[in-house]
């Protein structure tokens, strides 16, 4: 069977991927530059018996998705900067209550209403620290239309596997860019579904098997009458003020990430094997960096690219190892320096870490990056 070849925007590829991952419910609120994700979901979901609803605001958009997930649906909501800020409280709710959900943030120029139709990468730290309190975070960021498709599927799978909200952090570049994409057959796609308890089990909503970190999740209405609360809760799911219990719960939530970093973290490397200099870039800006590396290599400069695909948890170990190999690292991003803080933290004093970025709504061009590269190195 021939695969379907399409010419899609990143936002469209996101919906194609979501449907192949098993999305049956979408709720959200219109916001540029993510709106195509809502529009296409509205068109496609009822055709497969799924549900779409445009809610009254961004907060309701994520709240309805969490509610739907509890009935067994695979759910997604999409937004952009200002809407992402509004969703933060309920991202924390989903993290603590361990409810699978995919949140897409097509980043635009900020702060505030900022530059709604222009790219930015100013929500990198918000993706990690946006909601209050410590909480587990998985955040993926694609640099192409095809990878938007792939990572949307991966976001659903990780959400289901680890029972948590997963953030797909794209940007206006990848969201609106059109590229050729080959859509695989459904049978070629690996789909992970949450593990459910069997009727008759002595089900405790937040009890994990020995050696496991993720509790089984029953659908509301399937015969397990359990309680879900955003208060600290014990294994039964009911509120508990015990500090010992809260500590155990927090440890387990954070361990879901800590113990599974190898499964969660992915990245791409180009020409790093003999690299003396490293460019670190992600999302749409990685496309700029790829062009710059090609040009610099042609000039005989031994430069490589490290592109985190999983932004959070950050690929600490690999970046640290590379920092022992190279003379300099330059971080390119469309902000005033966000992921660079994490790179500096990881690299320590192994090598200098330089910055190349801007936040005026323009993309970074390969020439600009090359100029900066030559200037600082």
């Amino acid at each position: 069977m021939a695969r379907k070849v399409k010419f899609l925007q990143g936002n469209e590829a996101c919906v194609e991927g979501a449907l192949m991952a098993g999305m049956t419910f979408y709720s959200g609120y219109p916001i540029t530059p993510s709106t195509e994700i809502a529009e296409l979901s509205a068109e496609k979901l009822p055709k497969i018996g799924g549900k779409f609803i445009q809610m009254e605001d961004e907060i309701a958009g994520i709240a309805a998705a969490i509610g739907a997930s509890l009935t067994g649906a695979k759910v997604m909501t999409a937004t952009s900067g200002p809407g992402f800020s509004l969703k933060q409280e309920n991202i924390g709710y989903a993290a603590l209550t361990e409810i699978p959900l995919v949140i897409v943030n097509v980043q635009r120029g900020g702060p505030s209403t900022g530059l709604p139709t222009a790219p930015g990468q100013g929500d990198v730290m918000q993706a990690m620290w946006g909601t209050h309190g410590d909480h587990p975070v998985i955040c993926l960021t694609p640099d192409s239309v095809k990878e938007t498709f792939d990572l949307t599927i991966r976001a659903f799978n990780l959400a289901e596997k680890y029972r948590m909200p997963v953030i797909l952090l794209t940007d206006e570049i990848t969201g609106h860019m059109r590229e050729k994409i080959e859509i695989p057959e459904q049978s070629e796609i690996e789909v992970y579904n949450r593990i459910k308890p069997n009727l008759g089990d002595n089900y405790q909503a937040y009890k994990v098997e020995a050696g496991d970190l993720v509790p089984k999740m029953a659908d509301f209405g399937s015969g397990f009458r359990y309680h879900v609360t955003g208060l600290m809760h014990d294994e039964t799911g009911f509120p508990s003020n015990s500090t010992a219990n809260a500590g155990r719960l927090m440890d387990r939530l954070m361990d879901k990430i800590e113990a599974n970093k190898d499964d969660i973290i992915t990245y791409e490397e180009i020409e790093t094997e003999d690299a003396e200099y490293l460019i670190l870039a992600y999302g749409g800006t990685a496309r700029t960096a790829k062009a710059a590396v090609k040009t610099l290599r042609a000039e005989g400069i031994k430069v490589g690219l490290f592109r985190p695909i999983t932004l959070w948890p950050f690929p600490n170990e690999r970046v640290n190892t590379l920092s022992e190999q190279v003379k300099d690292i330059i971080v390119a991003e469309l902000n005033y320096g966000q992921l660079i803080l994490e790179v500096e933290r990881v690299v320590k004093s192994n090598c200098p870490v330089r910055f190349c970025g801007k936040a005026n709504g323009e993309v970074l061009t390969p020439d600009e990056l090359i100029r900066k590269f030559k200037e600082v190195l």
Binding site: P46, A64, Y226
Partner: protein, 271 residues
């Protein structure tokens, strides 16, 4: 020996509840259970959703699929539950602040959509959980910890607000008028479409003390003396209605329901 209603519909091991002595909320919670019993609903198919506040702790005691969400958002979560699985009977419990201040937008839009959710507002005219601040239903001139010189706000009429927004069922009752409350909550659950019952509760601990309302019995007596059923009021002379509050069923009409309308779109593609 516990009452069979309690044995059948409540999580016995979660008692005692957190509410203060004399609080009206337990009366309303029990009324919801009686309505569910009367309707013979399958406990596995009932979902109770709440936000944050004193009343929002009720679902934790009730033996159904229960969801205690974030402040003000119960109706938005409930909308997702209901649309994703319309077979579930979804009941929302919300306080006056939760429902009409921080969650006011979700209230009017749920009503506008006419989605088949039943909302029971436990209205005690105050933010109790945080210690007695004035809410959108605190009467003008009454006091709260954040209205030490008297409240200058004009209060919401939540039952009317729901009607204005498109609710197809709206009623009001009080913690004193329990037989009426049972009937109205039963009718609201049975109603296909968005339904709201504003159940006036009492908060002797904060609202009562702050405003010198006397004992719990005094506050209950006040409810008894100051609420008149809308049908009775129709026949009363004007002077007897002066200063009284209306209760009873204000609207009960049938209009297209949201999840039914969505099912029709899906059906269209199944043909």
């Amino acid at each position: 020996m516990n009452h069979p209603l309690v044995e059948n519909y409540f999580r016995m091991d979660k008692f005692p509840h957190i509410w203060c002595p004399g609080c009206g909320h337990g009366i309303i919670m029990a009324s919801i259970a009686r309505a569910i019993e009367k309707l013979g609903l399958d406990k596995d198919k009932v979902c109770i959703v709440s936000g944050i506040g004193c009343s929002s702790r009720a679902p934790g005691y009730m033996d159904f699929n229960t969801l205690h969400t974030t402040h003000g958002r119960a109706l938005a979560f409930a909308t997702g539950v209901k649309l994703a699985n319309p077979d579930l009977e979804v009941i929302v419990i919300a306080g006056d602040g939760d429902l009409s201040a921080i969650g006011g937008n979700h209230l009017i839009h749920s009503a506008r959509r006419n989605i088949n959710l039943t909302t029971i507002c436990f209205n005690n005219n105050i933010y109790g959980m945080t210690g007695g601040q004035y809410s959108p239903t605190t009467p003008t001139n009454e006091k709260g910890t954040t209205a030490p010189y008297g409240n200058i706000d004009k209060p919401f009429d939540i039952a009317k607000l729901a009607i204005g927004a498109g609710a197809t069922y709206s009623a009001r009752t009080t913690a004193y008028h329990v037989p009426q409350m049972d009937k109205l909550i039963e009718a609201a659950i049975k109603h296909k479409g968005f339904s709201l019952v504003e159940a006036i509760s009492i908060c002797p601990t904060y609202y009562g003390r702050k405003n010198k309302k006397g004992s719990v019995v005094d506050m209950m007596t006040w409810l008894k003396d100051n609420f008149v059923d809308v049908k009775v009021a129709e026949k009363l002379p004007q002077e007897k209605k002066e200063g009284k509050f209306l209760m009873g069923e204000f609207i009960n009409i049938i209009e297209p329901e949201y999840t039914d309308q969505y099912a029709k779109i899906i059906e269209h593609f199944n043909k």
